[in-house]
């Protein structure tokens, strides 16, 4: 009897294992163009709509980085998002679009400007790149927004005194947009603030840059020159130790997604910190002077550098890390040589480091026509 039960059990386990396997295979085998499941519990008629799912592609070094967070994309949503990103209709006086400041040729930063012009004057901070923001969790230099949707809403509010409700009513009057909203989000095709930012968010998540010479070298398609190789060693060993903050990490974005003080300004006490950054968001004095660690991809296109665009060239940036670190009480421990004022790199080491940084430029990203102005 006992034997029988055991046999029965073991065959059952086999059946269930096989079933599970088959089931998993079924899932894994799903075509990328399989429709997104409508949510049966929703009362929102729009949610029954099924768009054309879009599967993100990006060249992957080795077998890493296959997974994309928050990735519910539709072809129609991205198309609409691209139009809204480039359409000045979103700004109060219909003169500025997102693309006016976030320009694809400059990796979505603003054409070498220290500050961009919004409707009421220069922006408070340097316009950052939007590359690889699918992997970012807290946005803006001070980390005040938790999602790309919230960030785009805020970008407009803060920088352009934009009124989202006003934009909705302007877009409602545009007969060309109504069918596009229907295609992206289903019937009845009402236009809402939420849908505007969801569409723009989908478009921004497609801005993925992973085709630099460095990425190619990981795929065996490019060989780093001697200078680049030496620069990489400086970047990723204790010599320069940039990788602690501008880390390749699990998703090769070259930022650890943290908010830190990298010794740009001196302050005797935290109360003396002028530009408080993250501290304004968290309310904690300990966060005074901490800012987002930006990616160091595509630096040739994103000049000038730092939150206030204080450095015009990479030479200035590297000179800063080498010789001009300034003490303040909550400096990141990873600014190692703070008590010596910096890393004290030789001229050769500086130029090697810059040679490596430039291997992170992605020419195919800044010329990708999928991001260009659709109205031109």
């Amino acid at each position: 009897m006992k034997l029988k039960i055991e046999k029965l059990l073991s065959s059952l386990v086999k059946v269930s294992l096989a079933t599970v396997l088959l089931f998993l295979l079924g899932i894994a085998g799903c075509k990328p163009d399989k429709n997104i499941e409508p949510d049966p519990n929703s009362n929102d008629p729009d949610s029954l709509y099924v768009g054309t799912p879009y599967s993100l592609q990006r060249p992957s070094p080795s077998n890493r980085f296959r997974r994309f967070p928050d990735s519910t994309f539709t072809v129609e949503g991205i198309r609409l998002g691209r139009m809204l990103f480039w359409d000045p209709i979103v700004s109060a006086d219909s003169t500025l679009s997102c693309g006016s400041c976030h320009k694809p040729e400059f990796a979505f930063s603003d054409e070498g400007k220290q500050f961009s012009m919004n409707l009421s004057g220069p922006t408070k901070r340097n316009t950052p790149s939007l590359q690889n923001s699918i992997w970012m969790r807290q946005l803006f230099w001070d980390g005040r927004q938790p999602s790309l949707e919230a960030a785009s809403h805020d970008a407009l509010l803060d920088e352009q005194h934009f009124n989202a409700a006003q934009a909705v009513s302007k877009i409602e009057k545009r007969t060309d947009y109504v069918p596009l909203f229907k295609k992206a989000f289903g019937r009845p095709g009402t236009i809402t603030e939420d849908k505007i930012f969801r569409a723009i968010g989908m478009f921004m998540r497609t801005m993925i840059s992973t085709n630099s010479n460095y990425d190619k070298s990981l795929r065996g398609l490019y060989t780093l020159s001697d200078a680049e190789q030496r620069g990489l060693a400086i970047f990723s060993t204790e010599k320069g130790d940039c990788f602690h903050c501008h880390t390749d990490g699990p998703y090769l974005t070259f930022t650890n997604n943290e908010f830190l003080n990298n010794a740009l300004d001196s302050a005797a006490t935290l109360a003396d910190v002028k530009d408080i950054g993250l501290g304004k968001v968290t309310g904690s004095t300990d966060d005074y002077g901490k800012f987002k660690v930006p990616s160091v991809r595509n630096l040739s296109y994103t000049y000038p550098y730092m939150r206030d665009g204080r450095f015009e060239t990479l030479e200035q940036v590297v000179n800063f890390y080498s010789d001009s670190l300034r003490y303040s009480p909550n400096i990141s421990p990873n600014m190692k040589k703070i008590n010596q004022g910096g890393l004290h790199l030789t001229a050769q080491e500086k130029s090697d480091l810059i040679a490596f940084l430039k291997t992170l430029d992605d020419a195919s990203f800044v010329s990708d026509t999928a991001f260009s102005n659709p109205f031109k």
């Binding site: 386990v13 890493r64 296959r66 967070p69 969790r137 204790e238 130790d241 990490g249």
Partner: protein, 248 residues
């Protein structure tokens, strides 16, 4: 397909529960505390170590793996595969384990860091709820997972400026340690607790292989094998760290 699956699963569950004899079980709460002079560690507060150096710890996270209890008959009950304790996130400092058999245990076993198999899984390939998830900040391409991440600064020259670093990023398969601690533990019905207590000062001063935080070479490491001094500090830290635990 789905019906067949649920049928198979139901029958399997039925089969298992019908088979097993009824054993009394209880809950066990694991606590992971870090102490300095018998006080709970407070990040960013000033400490003075036994060599009179002042330091602050700003970030402190580590992985423990394969935590298990050993019964008197040497059979083991696995409590958890992997935890990442983070002193910035109180919820990671306790873990409730259900269904622990009501009996006597004589030993606690655990690994400090990740097993080679765990270390080989990519953040891409684990669930969002796994401690190795994409945003754990505990993974570098070239090192794999950082087993222990401690970041802070010290004032070793009495200048009142915390401008000396104190950074230990310790990882790599060779530095994985397994620890066994004799501990008589009677699991009774209801709630039980087991505390993993880590004494910070013991990491630096254990009388056998002290780490001198005023010596630049010993004040930091990121486990870089291409730099022998850097890696030596990692070896020392990993060893001291694994010995700084007591089970209460």
């Amino acid at each position: 397909m789905k019906n067949l699956l649920s049928l198979a699963v139901m029958l399997t569950i039925f089969g298992i529960s019908a088979c097993s004899k009824k054993e009394k079980t209880a809950d066990l709460t694991l606590n992971f505390t870090a102490k300095f002079n018998n006080q709970n560690l407070v990040l960013k507060s000033e400490y003075i170590d036994s060599a009179s150096y002042k330091y602050k710890i700003e970030k402190f996270k580590y992985f423990l793996s394969n935590i298990a209890l050993v019964k008197d008959d040497n059979t083991e009950v696995k409590l958890t595969d992997l935890v990442c304790v983070d002193y910035e996130t109180p919820s990671t400092q306790t873990l409730v384990i259900k269904n622990i058999p009501v009996t006597h245990f004589k030993k606690v076993k655990f690994g400090v860091g990740l097993t080679a198999a765990q270390n080989n899984m990519l953040p891409d390939d684990v669930a969002d709820s796994d401690p190795r998830h994409l945003y754990s900040s505990m993974y570098w391409g070239w090192l794999k997972y950082i087993f222990v991440r401690m970041e802070g600064r010290s004032d070793v020259d009495g200048s009142d400026k915390f401008d000396n670093l104190l950074i230990y990023d310790v990882g790599s398969d060779e530095l994985y340690k397994t620890v066994e601690v004799l501990k008589s533990l009677n699991i009774a019905e209801g709630n039980n607790t087991l505390t993993f207590r880590l004494d910070i000062d013991k990491i630096f001063r254990n009388g056998i292989s002290d780490i001198d935080i005023s010596n630049y070479e010993e004040s930091y490491t990121h486990s870089d094998k291409t730099n022998s001094k850097n890696y030596d500090t990692a070896i020392k830290f990993a060893e001291n760290f694994s010995k700084a635990f007591t089970i209460e």
